[in-house]
Symmetry: C2
Subunit: 452 residues, 2 copies
Amino acid sequence: MSDTDRRSSADMGMTPRGTTREQALALDAADPLAPLRELFEVPPGVLYLDGNSLGAMPRATPARVQQVVREEWGQGLIRSWNSAGWMTLASRIGDKIARLVGANPGELVVADSTSINLFKVLWAALSVAAPADAAASGRRLIVSERSNFPTDLYIAESIARERGFELKLVDADDIPAHLTERTAVLMLTHVNYRTGAMHDMAALSRAAHEAGALVIWDLAHSAGAVPVDLHAAGADFAVGCGYKYLNGGPGAPAFVWVHPRHVERFWQPLAGWIGHAAPFEFKPGYRPAAGIGRYFCGTPAVISMAALECGVDTLLAAEPLAQAAGHATAMAALRAKSLALCQLFAERVGVLCPSLTLASPLDDRRRGSQVCYTHATHGYAIMQALIARGVIGDFRAGDPSHPKDAADILRFGFTPLYLRFADAWDAAEHLREVLDREEWRRPEFNQRQAVT
Amino acid sequence: MSDTDRRSSADMGMTPRGTTREQALALDAADPLAPLRELFEVPPGVLYLDGNSLGAMPRATPARVQQVVREEWGQGLIRSWNSAGWMTLASRIGDKIARLVGANPGELVVADSTSINLFKVLWAALSVAAPADAAASGRRLIVSERSNFPTDLYIAESIARERGFELKLVDADDIPAHLTERTAVLMLTHVNYRTGAMHDMAALSRAAHEAGALVIWDLAHSAGAVPVDLHAAGADFAVGCGYKYLNGGPGAPAFVWVHPRHVERFWQPLAGWIGHAAPFEFKPGYRPAAGIGRYFCGTPAVISMAALECGVDTLLAAEPLAQAAGHATAMAALRAKSLALCQLFAERVGVLCPSLTLASPLDDRRRGSQVCYTHATHGYAIMQALIARGVIGDFRAGDPSHPKDAADILRFGFTPLYLRFADAWDAAEHLREVLDREEWRRPEFNQRQAVT
């Protein structure tokens, strides 16, 4: 996001200024996706604007998890690897996620964590882009964004150190200038975790390819949040998170996708037995499975995966509603509502909260499913005061070592599956009251704790 | 295991030959650990001898998992990372597992899968044992056992390839001869997954150290199965599995331990944000956490970890019963019962099933908590016929490419937490009937399926 995007939220001007609560209720009454909220448990008195950190619990999840634990494990025991389909769970859920991100069946699997999947694909991408015997090619750079989510940067830093690459961190606007004959891999998170700023996946993928580099997209804040079409965008590798917009539960497994043109060109180094071509032959000597199966590593986390599948199913449940409303896909309908929710919230905050500064891009095409603000001095305490009111967003500390990323951020994620227009209206009203009454001054809101 | 150990099971002769079912029942009546069975769900009609592949479900687990899903996630949402202690779950469970394996509090954590944790510790061990600037030292060998669990070998093969080491696979008896000035790391699974053969951890750790090498122990078939004392044995690194004898559920997270003398000497390469010294500062630039915390990677799998904790608690529940019976530790009492169960089963099979050949060591000191057999021709079908009777052991295919590992194995794991002496007696009786009636000839028992 460039500095010119930073202006008072009052200037956002996305929608008419004077939206009333009655109008918000009318938008809910006309919302074709409104029935989806019934698929979720949303605690009474809570306005949950943190689905970008941990999605809400689908109502189907507890019973499904109980089935896995009590019946499949408790009664079926080891037999359930076959009889209950545990062996194919990771691929089955992968195929469902594939529908949300423009991948084909059989190209995407659920496994491990986002960090570990990123390690797999970055290692593989470097080996394809700059093979050892082509060190003379001079492609020694991994380019990423300085405000990328830190775990991505840590993994890249580690791999760069181990393999003699250089991790080059730049501002978003400077990325194209750093795609050169020295660049092996461009590694980006599609939607920035702090500001919600969204990259143009197709344009940057094309620019990377034109420079002879490969591109990795982290879809942590995209999958289930914004339409993604990995094939149309020309992506090479992608990873993503199960516990944010996919509603998979705390620490849900992550996913990994590799374009078919690359998937068998390299063994990712976490060569565990589940990625072997024939894991049950129990033979020494690794033979990678065909296709994306080689991106598995150890035994899959069955209970967590069952919960993830319930979460993914809540997104697919939008498909018939979306089609009935004239949208081509579930994600198109969800995106339309997400933008409208963000606009309503930003419009109200712009009117009501002049001490906040919008930290998200104004342009819908450049923003994910969240709206963020900065406050000159007391962002942390303001968010704590809001949470005490049941309005749950979150706070992300800035990086004082770099001016463009120094600001502390108040994040408000808008999940169209379970949020109503009246919720967005009410949340803005709570924010106004916290500021007008200076509730954030209370000492209990000024003691920092770790929160993911 | 040497060839001289392979003899008819009738020769095992561990206990008097003529144990009657009444005597088995009397052993159960006198068993101080008998009440522990009530902590588990064991399906009616099932004799479960596969706890070495997937432990049975503790009765406490469904309610605890429901609490995590419905209350902590469903109602607490993101707040539960602090309010429900999710951030410290991996360390809390780690401290409990530490009690079972001779580690100290704060030295062991739960994270990821066994395969991934092995990757972390092997990478770190190689970096400590053969740092890049000491390549001239000539320590380029990773020594392991050819019949080690394949995932361990695949991970080692992958790292060896990436870093220019050589993976040297040898027979168990030949390990000491391969600990030389060329050896960087000895990597072994303490109890062999096929035969149950158990290494002398202290002797081999000492031999490795005398050769200037480091040693990694995979405790997959040891933790919760046999007494382990990592410190007393002089181990350097250890990993282990949560879903076998720790009863953590299918795909439960694994654990990792590093001796304090090594833990801060190297960054393991899976440098995810949860292993950062200050993950919530959200700063680029990896600073590893102090101690074992740097072996974390991505966001912990909360639901699966909650189930794992219930499993570990079933082992700790043995502590008061063990002490009342005069044992120093829970594992000492569990080991005594495990050996007695194995002896009873092997004695009965020796009498009843002359067509089977014992494939486990005779010496209690060299065997874990399982008893294994080979059958000349139809091991797979015999196990399927047994499973159809509700006697659940498992089958592990041999490696035809090597004579010593070529035999197919029938595995019977004995988990003293929930198995009775009468179960061991009855299982042998079923095995006799399958063989005497040639039930294994039925076509449906001869169609191979993948089973973990």
